[in-house]
């Protein structure tokens, strides 16, 4: 006869073990292995910093890190701004309309990034539809001022799904913003700008920061959109990693070290994000 204690313990183990197995075998062990790979070279198994030295002494790798960070910062800043404006617009809409718009915003989030990239090429590429129409009827050749297969195009492509994340995260913040706070501030004699900067901003600041971090992490760690849009011509960390994993040059050690550079940026940010998320209701993930 099994005692009730043993039985409930067995049930606990049964319930929790699939999750723990997944966590250990497909997240913890792979992550440990990529740390190990980044600290060893292919030829010997002793620990070495040679991969990181190679990265930090190469202007081209440093440039790729800089490009990735700058592009992600710009994308995150833009999408937070637009997300905030959208979240504000949500507060003015009826719940039904809001729900419909939200499901439209969810769409690009579950699209593969390369679909967005291809749509932009079809629309705005050198022989894209909009490019052709503009050239034919307005005599204006778009690629002269804006090449969609560039970093600028990448930022534009990122907006399509980053705004979904930021606006949905921020709409929780804006909807829970207490209107009476603003009224109280106004009736106590504060001006419009004073109310915005002293009352509204401190309340929504954690939400803005959370949205910004989330957008930044998504922008810096993805590569599908960049590969389809900029291809081999772009110098971004993720694209360099992909190049190191092709059939011609397969260098998992150097690739892991490069990926570690992204992880060193995203892990602390994600921990801050998780903290902030406790103060912010809602969000997609």
């Amino acid at each position: 006869m099994v005692s009730p204690n043993t039985k409930s313990f067995l049930i606990d183990v049964l319930l929790v073990s699939p999750f723990l197995l997944l966590l250990v075998f497909f997240i913890a062990i792979p992550f440990a292995v990529s740390i190990y790979y980044s600290l060893t070279s292919g030829s010997s198994s002793s620990f070495t910093l040679s991969n990181f030295i190679q990265i930090y002494s190469s202007p081209s790798y440093l440039n790729s890190i800089q490009n990735s960070v700058v592009i992600s910062l710009e994308s995150a800043a833009l999408s937070t701004l637009f997300g905030a404006l959208l979240a504000y617009a949500f507060t003015l809409l009826s719940p039904t309309v809001r729900d419909i718009i939200r499901s439209v915003l969810l769409l690009p989030i579950i699209y593969p990034g390369l679909v967005i990239a291809f749509s932009l090429v079809i629309l705005l590429g050198t022989s894209g539809i909009l490019t052709n129409i503009l050239a034919k009827y307005f005599g204006f050749y778009l690629p002269d001022v804006f090449n969609v297969r560039s970093y600028g195009g990448l930022i534009l492509a990122y907006q399509s799904f980053l705004i979904g994340f930021t606006s949905i995260t921020l709409s929780g913040v804006f909807l829970s913003l207490d209107k009476s706070l603003i009224e109280a501030s106004r009736s106590l004699g504060a001006g419009v700008f004073q109310t915005i900067f002293r009352v509204v901003l401190p309340v929504i600041a954690p939400g803005l920061l959370a949205a910004f971090i989330q957008a930044f992490i998504i922008a810096i760690s993805g590569y599908g959109t960049a590969l389809a849009l900029v291809g081999g011509g772009g110098n971004l960390i993720t694209l360099r990693i992909i190049m190191l994993l092709s059939d011609v040059t397969y260098e998992p050690h150097l690739a892991s070290a490069l990926a570690m550079n992204i992880a060193m940026i995203t892990i602390p940010l994600a921990l801050i994000y998780n903290r902030l998320l406790k103060k912010v209701a809602g969000g997609v993930v």
Binding site: V16, L114, V192, S221, A259, I267
Partner: protein, 275 residues
């Protein structure tokens, strides 16, 4: 008109214009391939100059595309069922009786790990670790990789539903009335989180179906997925590739609207129960 009123009207107008511009942009980039899938020649006008069904025919006849469609459906179905099972079990664990705060935090933070790490890093490591094992060369290696990237979506969906229906009280009530854990799950928990469950499964399916970044590295030769097919065909024939994209869009659109509908249903049900 006072300054504050003018500012209020101005901010309203700006936010409405932004809303309109962004929604149009998203519609444009999302649905260009839908029209493109039926285009033979489309260069200088708002809509294609010559329409055709050849792209759809290509989709239904090309062996590589059909094969990739089969692979994607297979991998996405397994991923969605397995991930929802795993996270339902762990959520049952969290709510079965009083658990300490750190257990909840541990699970909450660990499901977020795949969001913190670039997919390419996890994919590369899984490739290096499991290629020499019996997983290498099978589609299971991709299924396990997808289980990691869908986890934040699945967990958050199920967890919020579990908290909303107050799963702990439900389990306690069922068990104090004499039901065992399995009866309580089957007769009480499952019917109550049904909508959340389907929503989570759909999201997992769509995320796995739409993944390119992991599949590109991990999918074995004979199990290349739909997104890989899109990537390979796009620079050969954009309209043929659009037909494949159309498939992905249908899956995404159905998912996002069904998820929104189901979460409204779940909330409505909750409100009904409370009344």
């Amino acid at each position: 008109m006072r300054l504050s009123d003018a500012l209020y009207v101005f901010s309203k107008i700006v936010s409405y214009i932004t809303l309109f511009a962004i929604i149009s942009y998203i519609f444009l980039v999302s649905f260009i391939p839908v029209i493109g899938a039926f285009a033979l020649k489309w260069e200088f006008s708002i809509l294609p100059e010559v329409w055709t069904l050849n792209n759809i025919k290509f989709l239904l006849e090309d062996p590589f595309v059909l094969r990739s469609l089969y692979s994607s459906l297979l991998i996405a179905s397994i991923t969605s069922v397995v991930s929802v099972t795993i996270y339902l079990l762990v959520i049952m664990f969290l709510f079965l009786r009083e658990r300490s705060r750190w257990m909840h935090t541990f699970v909450e933070v660990s499901v977020l790990i795949p969001l913190m790490l670039p997919a390419i890093l996890i994919a590369l490591a899984i490739y290096e670790v499991y290629r020499p094992t019996m997983l290498g060369g099978t589609y299971w290696i991709l299924v396990f990789a997808h289980l990691t990237i869908v986890s934040p979506y699945v967990f958050r969906n199920l967890y919020s539903v579990a908290r909303m229906i107050d799963m702990k009280t439900l389990i306690e009530a069922a068990r104090s009335l004499g039901a065992g854990v399995f009866t309580a799950t089957y007769r009480v928990i499952l019917p109550n989180i049904y909508h959340g469950l389907i929503g989570a499964m759909l999201l997992a399916f769509a995320v796995s179906f739409g993944d390119f970044e992991m599949a590109n590295l991990l999918a074995p030769w004979q199990y290349r997925t739909v997104t890989i097919a899109i990537f390979q065909y796009f620079f050969k024939n954009a309209w043929n590739a659009s037909a494949i994209i159309l498939l992905v869009i249908i899956v995404s659109v159905l998912t996002s609207f069904l998820v929104a509908y189901l979460s409204r249903k779940a909330i409505a049900r909750y409100v009904e129960v409370v009344r």
